[in-house]
Chain length 407, copies 2
């Protein structure tokens, strides 16, 4: 009998003993410290550290409700989903996700690598750090984790077992509501609209019926298109990074969905960083350096994704009908259109929806923040309404320039 | 302990005792007879009958391999899938599917209503029977069983649990191979091509690369688009019918897929009946009557489906974004394009693929059969290549007339 035979929500003082009982990662007489470091909405994250050696690991436990709202209950099965997909992604894209040491289905807790020496990418970007290897790393991660889990590449029966194992009703519902519904129809009154822009948001989002129709189409694709095992929440807060390495983590929203969703999320969140830099950096050369790097990186991610996707498809497609002339191009065109649309929805929901991003909310000057949000929403609508035109990195650069020039 | 606590394949002599032990449907001293009446490829079907009262029931047991090939193993889980979907369809479309009395997961056996006084529809059609209520019944069945299981109509979390429960890898693989691959790329050498047409088939199917590209696109939609809980094998051999009633059964291929697949299968199989009537009925008036009824029925099914679909959507849609202006029309247009394409694939695979249909193979005159097959393939390619134009029953009537006029 162990006190961990039945689920309870651990506190800092429980976690070191838990790790000792489960894994014996530290010497018997080690001075082990534990600190809760989570800042997400869903889980409790503890760093357990040997004070003598400095060695540390992370324990992440899934709670039974949202941290920001005890009323929003969530299946703790997301912990299992997260541990399982980290193992899959780790095998497909080695070195780009943290290592999982243990998943405990009773306590809904995962013991994993502590990504020491890395910063959460959103924090780094808000400090206007640049990451020269990011485009290379993330494009590899996207192609490997996404294309290799499709019916193009996988035995269809094994893929169907994965689809089944990653059915994720609770977390998908969050995205269905917060990304594809509430930013357009604020029926839950949960949107956070910056007051200066309330008229603009009403006109551009709440009253635009043609936009609602495209949102509805894309919502159904998000719900029904079991294309690829996607991360499902791939923003810059789900990435730990430094000048040499990139780790993608927090995949608890994972399910079989359209792969463009992940790629679009990255693009949207990078542009939030551009907005922050543009509004906050006073030194002109510094601003040009940071903002220029962001735009180069967006362009580069799209182009590198396309190039690596084509090579991978050419080399590894196993589905006979996927090899017929013209199919790879048609399939990629669909992925790229989905990507642009997803970038649009993420842009909008992070600007006016329930979960804002610090890149924007930390812009202290009201007018600059209002301008940034207008640029984001204008660009986002272009992404969604004209999603077929976003066929390469240049198209993104042009659309961004056009949206900026309007304000 | 019972001898039915462990799976074994029952013989006629086992089944009466099995029913007695499980259900006590017959009086204790009844003279119960049992006969194997299955003629499908996958299962064993027994009729159990009380000789005195004439009351009968059906026992259907799933075998562990195809009856036509012991090498092709199949998960017996399809029996559970079949029993579960019959219950769901029975609640959504009352009176249009047989009643299930028992599903036994150990023996993979289902005890169900015997549809006495009904004929397998394919048999009836080959005898050139007409069924005036069929269009009315099947259009209701299609709208109720298909639209009501989509995200338009269902709570999304409950729908995801159904998707999970109906993941059906083995039977989907059969359709992926036999419907969407082998008729175009005969890599398994399992196609049954009528020798008179071998050159025609080579030119029109094996060598047509633009057709292969559309087949590839539709194969991916079949594999990935978890739109609706479809029957998955809705041909005229899966229907028992008479002048008053229609029963749809044998849904063991069920899974969450594109709803057009079911509708297209019905249309294709009705046209096989037209071909049989056209080639076999010598009396001109009789031929006109039967073949005219078939064409009217195809047109009528499409138009009734559209009308009922619109009413149902209008009255019962629960998904907020599905109610935005223009969405229902866009969604229906997608279903209708999928329908035409599916009619095309079913037409082709039943003509040249592994599983032919008796409507065509029973045409004794070689030239007439060859002509029928050429009409079917020409029509099928029109369905697939121009699937967006099949927006009502008239479009089908015109396309059929055009294909017939070529030969």
């Amino acid at each position: 009998m162990s006190r961990y035979d039945k689920y309870f929500l651990m506190k800092e003082e429980d976690v070191a003993a838990y790790v000792e009982e489960k894994l014996q990662l530290f010497p018997r007489n080690a001075k082990v410290e534990c600190k809760e470091i989570g800042d997400g909405n869903l889980n409790y994250v503890f760093r357990v550290k040997d004070a003598d050696t400095g060695k540390s690991i992370i324990v992440k436990q899934a709670g039974e409700s949202l941290r920001i709202s005890a009323e929003m209950k969530l299946s703790t099965d997301r912990g299992r989903i997260e541990a399982d997909i980290l193992k899959i992604q780790g095998s497909l894209a080695p070195g780009l996700v943290p290592e999982v040491y243990l998943y405990d289905g009773v306590m809904c807790a995962m013991v994993m690598q502590d990504m020491v020496g890395h910063t959460m990418m959103r924090t780094g970007l808000i400090n206007h750090e640049t990451y020269p290897l990011f485009a290379e790393h993330i494009s590899t991660f996207l192609v490997k984790s996404l294309l290799l889990t499709t019916d193009v590449m996988m035995d269809h029966k094994k893929k169907k077992e994965l689809v089944k194992s990653f059915i994720n009703p609770d977390l998908c519902e969050i995205s269905e509501d917060l990304v594809y519904t509430e930013p357009f129809v604020d029926y839950n009154q949960r949107n956070n609209v910056f007051p200066v822009n309330s008229e603009f948001v009403k006109k551009e989002l709440y009253d635009d019926k043609t936009l609602h129709l495209e949102a509805a189409k894309c919502k159904f694709a998000f719900m029904n298109n079991a294309q690829s095992l996607i991360h499902g929440d791939l923003h810059t807060g789900s990435i730990f990074i430094n000048q040499e390495h990139t780790y993608i983590f927090d995949p608890e929203f994972a399910f079989y969905g359209p792969m463009g969703y992940d790629i679009g999320n990255i693009i949207a969140n990078l542009f939030f960083a551009w907005c922050n830099g543009d509004a906050s950096i006073e030194d002109k050369a510094e601003k040009e350096k940071f903002c220029g790097w962001v735009l180069d990186t967006i362009e580069c991610i799209v182009d590198k994704f396309i190039a690596k996707f084509k090579v991978e498809f050419q080399e590894k497609a196993v589905e006979r009908m996927a090899k017929v002339a013209g199919f790879a191009d048609w399939y990629l065109a669909g992925v790229l259109a989905d990507t642009a649309a997803a970038a649009g929805f993420e842009s909008i929901r992070r600007t006016v929806g329930m979960a804002n991003v610090k890149d924007i909310t930390s812009i202290t000057d009201e007018q600059r923040r209002a301008r940034a949000e207008r640029i984001i929403i204008t660009l986002a609508k272009d992404y969604i309404m004209n999603r077929e035109k976003f066929t390469d990195g240049t198209a993104y650069r042009k659309a961004i320039a056009a949206a900026i020039s309007e304000y």
